[in-house]
């Protein structure tokens, strides 16, 4: 299950939805907002998403993970909007019978989410400038 949200992500609550008597392992990943990037002090991050395709592509990634690794449940939630330092931007949770596939599926999902979902982030710096992450012109920090 892939979800896009604008409200704060509640990992504990999301984790509870994966509890399963057949599961002997749970692996979770939380992506947090960090206060520094490439030498610049970051104040906050602004996420923009194209939700219809982010959901579609996210479901595809989860289906790929499930096809590769025998897991019981795999969920991913990504947040958009303005996020402050320390907030959770993305959460992945996987439950499986054994730990290996939980770790591997979790890793696969977050790695693919980062490169495939139509989501962009704009860093707002303490010096008042801002820049889109991963864009050529971000280097200019205009």
């Amino acid at each position: 299950m892939m979800k896009m949200v604008t409200d704060p992500i509640q990992p504990e609550e999301l984790r509870r939805a994966l509890i399963d008597p057949a599961a002997g392992a749970y692996a979770g990943f939380e992506g947090w907002i960090r206060n520094r990037n490439e030498g610049h002090e970051v104040l906050r991050l602004e996420y923009e998403a194209y939700e219809p395709l982010a959901l579609k592509e996210g479901e595809k990634i989860i289906a790929e993970a499930r096809a590769k690794y025998p897991v019981l449940h795999a969920h991913c939630v990504h947040r958009s909007g303005m996020l402050e330092i320390g907030e959770c931007a993305v959460w992945v949770g996987v439950a499986s019978a054994h730990r290996d596939e939980a770790f591997l599926a979790c890793r696969y999902i977050i790695d693919q989410v980062k490169v495939r979902l139509p989501i962009w982030k704009k860093e707002h710096y303490t010096d008042g400038h801002s820049g889109w992450v991963n864009c050529e012109r971000c280097a200019a920090h205009g």
């Binding site: 194209y50 395709l53 990504h78 993305v90 979902l117 139509p118 962009w120 982030k121």
Partner: protein
């Protein structure tokens, strides 16, 4: 043959274009031709290889053909997570 399409811009591309969508009349046969045409017009410098395109809400390759009436979504380099 000239066709009329709707183009939507996101993130950096929206800021470069100054609008989030526009109707475009173009002779471009493929998504990559359209990208080159609009990049010149809006002064973007992103290499095509880092960007993605969707036509009518389906992710496609840059060699995908463009038909009259299509809705084209131009995505600058993504940065989820």
């Amino acid at each position: 043959m000239s066709k009329t399409i709707e183009v939507r811009y996101f993130a950096l591309f929206r800021e470069n274009a100054g609008v989030d969508r526009e109707s475009v009349t173009s002779d471009a046969a493929t998504a990559s031709e359209l990208f080159a045409e609009l990049r010149d017009r809006h002064g973007s410098t992103e290499p095509l290889g880092h960007c993605k395109v969707a036509i009518n809400d389906e992710m496609v390759g840059w060699d995908a053909p463009i038909q009259d009436g299509d809705s084209i979504l131009l995505f600058p380099p993504v940065a989820g997570g």
